[in-house]
Symmetry: C2
Subunit: 244 residues, 2 copies
């Protein structure tokens, strides 16, 4: 691990990169303890403050965790699916909100990936997954539900569908596609009639998954994708009319 004091980037960024590379390439293994801040400061010939800034960068990516006290220090963190899932959602949400991604593009990505899960979900679903899906459908039918809560329940329904595929890597990869869409979905005003239609389609999906038949689930998801884009189009048209 070498640091170049004359490089363009910050010393803390260089140090963070050196340690990150060591972790990614396996020279530092999970739960291994890094040298203390003071030792690293000496090793890299920088101050402790600079080392700390580097460590905070790594902590932000869940690559290390720190513990105070004697025999404490910084340890290589075993990245959990939960942590990775959260990072994935945050990144996707920001990416979509900051890059003028059209609703159609985001929606297409989401439903394309989700439909890919449907056959696996139909094949492997457990009672728990079905129960989760049914519970969200019930929630979606409750009167007085705000649009935001309706959307949140929609996300929860689709998360259950993805989980039913029984592949944690797949679930992680889809996290951003499903949950990152929520801010866009929240912009839609759901009328009683559109909710009814969506709940019908969700019911079709749950029924198909329960019956372990992939095709109808895929069909309903396709229909849902079309309908969602249609609803969004209506909202945008309405908005364009009121602000010409």
């Amino acid at each position: 691990m070498k640091i170049d004091p004359n490089a363009t980037s910050d010393l803390s960024a260089q140090i963070a990169k050196a340690i990150r590379d060591s972790i990614v390439e396996g020279r530092l293994i999970v739960d291994e303890r890094l040298p203390s801040e003071a030792e690293m400061a000496e090793q890299f010939k920088v101050s402790r403050a600079t080392v700390r800034e580097a460590l905070k960068r790594l902590a932000a990516q869940s690559l290390i965790r720190t513990q105070r006290g004697a025999f404490g220090g910084a340890f290589v963190n075993k990245l959990s699916f939960e942590e990775a899932y959260g990072q994935q959602v945050t990144t996707s949400t920001l990416l979509i909100s900051m890059n003028e991604v059209s609703f159609e593009t985001a929606c297409e990505a989401r439903y394309t990936l989700e439909r890919a899960c449907a056959p696996l979900a139909a094949q492997r679903r457990l009672p728990d997954h079905l129960a989760d899906m049914r519970a969200e459908i019930v929630r979606q039918g409750q009167p007085g539900l705000t649009d935001e809560r309706f959307c949140a329940s929609d996300v929860a329904f689709h998360r259950a569908l993805v989980n039913a595929a029984g592949n944690p890597v797949l679930a992680f990869q889809l996290a951003g596609a499903v949950e990152g869409m929520q801010p866009l979905m929240n912009m839609i005003t759901f009328t009683a009639r559109s909710r009814e239609r969506i709940i019908d389609l969700h019911t079709n999906i749950a029924d198909a998954i329960e019956a372990k038949s992939a095709a109808p689930a895929d069909e309903a998801l396709g229909e849902l994708a079309r309908y969602t884009v249609e609803l969004a189009q209506g909202v945008f048209d309405e908005r364009a009319k009121s602000r010409p």
Copy 2:
């Protein structure tokens, strides 16, 4: 933005969270300048070092960028697809390598998602994407190519396929699934015969995409998924035999 000095977590983590929330929820918009470190230190009633640690956390997630000099400071960064792509790949790679994910599980996730792209790719592919795919196929046929380079070319081929779908959000979501697999793929030893088989399947895929016919592409991808798992199984069996 409020900070609790008695909370369990670090002050710098709390401050980072407060700023992150402001960005995610839109209270801070792209390119907006944050207060200077000294001002934030005063505002949050902490030292400048603590504020800096918080800012480094945000910089590690590409949420802010900093600029030195007068009228410099920390600015909300517009998360680019490129940056997000890189983060996604790093996270996926670490997640897979640290969590005893079976080759089958990772492979299933990858090919399930990739097959979902095939119809879109067949429909929308541009000459550039085809050229990229063909170029990688040529490279894969060169003698003397190391296994690692063969794998890297394999990833490049599949990246071109995903890009051919013409949906940047989809491409981003698939980044981890395709590239995060590489360390696992690198463990496979590719014989001349297995390379030939893979190149044949890649050619089938490229031909199908060129002909804008989705079904053969999907078929070849399925075959490739099966064959990859089979190859890996061979490697693991071999290893089990030599180290009983």
